[in-house]
Symmetry: C2
Subunit: 350 residues, 2 copies
Amino acid sequence: MADPEFQPDPAVVKRSAPTVEDVARAAGVSTATVSRCLNMPAKVGEATRTRVLKVVAELGYSPNFGARALAAKRTRTIGAIVPTMENAIFARGLQAFQEELGLHGYTLLVASSSYSPEREADQIRTLVARGADALLLIGFDRAPAITEWLEARAVPHVIAWAYDADAKALSVGFDNREAMRALASEVFARGHRRVAVLTAPIAQNDRARERLAGVRAAAAEAGLDPDTLRVVETPYSFDNGAAQMDLLMGDTPRPTAVICGNDILAAGAIAAARAKGLRVPGDVSVTGFDDIEIARVLDPLLTTVHVPHRDMGRACARDLIDILENGTHPASTELRTEVMLRGSLGPPAD
Amino acid sequence: MADPEFQPDPAVVKRSAPTVEDVARAAGVSTATVSRCLNMPAKVGEATRTRVLKVVAELGYSPNFGARALAAKRTRTIGAIVPTMENAIFARGLQAFQEELGLHGYTLLVASSSYSPEREADQIRTLVARGADALLLIGFDRAPAITEWLEARAVPHVIAWAYDADAKALSVGFDNREAMRALASEVFARGHRRVAVLTAPIAQNDRARERLAGVRAAAAEAGLDPDTLRVVETPYSFDNGAAQMDLLMGDTPRPTAVICGNDILAAGAIAAARAKGLRVPGDVSVTGFDDIEIARVLDPLLTTVHVPHRDMGRACARDLIDILENGTHPASTELRTEVMLRGSLGPPAD
DNA sequence: TTGTATGCGTTATCAT
DNA sequence: ATGATAACGCATACAA
């Protein structure tokens, strides 16, 4: 097939991507100058810079990622590990996080843990091995070993969705306990005494645990024994919410209010109540947490806690970039939440 | 502060991460063998392999990402560019995509275009520059220049959310036109004649355009002049859906059915109809597209088109990995959609 | 301001 | 099966 006599045109045979060297040669400068033009343009003479950049554009030069990472020891890539992107709250937070990163020339590496600490630890190591310069993590609950690993490797990281001023790690979030306490207080204030809590498994989830603690605190304030609260744990999903609600509504006597750990569980709960012929809030009140779109679409509208997911994502990005570029040590940020009183919460039936 | 006499313990002063060389020395083999143990364990003797891997574990060695990328010319990282992660359909697809990638040792790099072709082109270049071995893109609509660029650089990529057997590019998706035609046929079959379409801007969005074409096709089949359809374009969001629905419901005569380009617009439309005191479907029918969670929560339940988002994400991952690892040329995959007839669609009021 | 020279940690080719 | 060694392409300390 190939003609042995054939002499390829050098201008055409050049298959591989251009390198600094190609640019340097074409621009009549050294590779160092080319590199400088791209990374510290201020330190290069006006004339040479424009000349070099022109050549860069002409050749369609783009620095080799591996070489750059190897030499510079950084990738301008930041990792995020969330329980799942399917939950709108994490998707929303990630979106804002990514947008802010993009504004500063950083790229987002994503992994999900499916709420498993072991998988999260794996993902942490994987993303760092993949060159992540810093990480966004959700919540504080994780094995000490992986936290120590992060510290030992000096991997900048921020904890989102939770706030703890005393923690060693940087966090950007809100006080899950207090937010839920404020909401639960409204429930008890309306006279509810038989109250159930539908929560995600609290074992390795500090946010869920804190929220439950918030309900207990509100119960105590209302003069109730927190141990009389009916607590049901189930993974976050519409169907689980519905299934557990179905069981709860079979109890005698029936709870007059069900406080859910998030809006998705609450949506499932309301659907299940309806399916059983119960009115909300006439027969049973239901509350959520997060204030995602679904809360404004449910019938009745869902009483819930509004969380500034986008602000959280943005703030995380800013902190991480600040650490990376300026070596600072930002203080943790506490974001404000707000109880949204809507139709799904009413007085008890009896 | 520092004691000038202090002699640091060499075992402690070793700050930087261990390299192949460290492992090789400790295991009494060459760096080549260490590399082989990690990358092609089959080509190494049983005994040496276990010995080397033991040392790897002891030292906590992890190959340097930049060096590996530079030498191997690949990163085992795959990029995805979606319009936005806030839309549950993309979040769900991405989640499945990422899970499948993870199963095969690949990591996901994410960017969003905000439905802007220019931003998407930027992101494509950025992700490739960041070392993405392959890309997942949404839909076919993009400037020829960037498509050519992808071809020229031989960047493996898959188009999701759309299917075109004749296109040069690999695609994994469904026939948006036919799916919407099937749904719209149900609407016309119920006798609706004054029908409005609430769609995303169709300018640079082939999915939206195809869906609109599907409605037109169904109208024609029903003996209607497609040009009598009232078409309203608005960016995908609950509030936009509500606002445009509010305007539509002010028309005289009022449309008896509103076909929406996705479930979020439909949710907004139903809320707006309600707010205006109109019953759905009594006064006006509403349909969506996607069949996300919200469709099962709305009152009435939303008639929509079910799309296998997770299957799509998974299939995209498999194809890309197949290309990368085996150099194959997978054929495009057409996925099945299904019309979900639910309460929001009824006969016309008059 | 610009150039020179070296190191970065792997992978892969080619011997052995 | 294993070892020696040459790329890989860039950033940067140091010189000029």
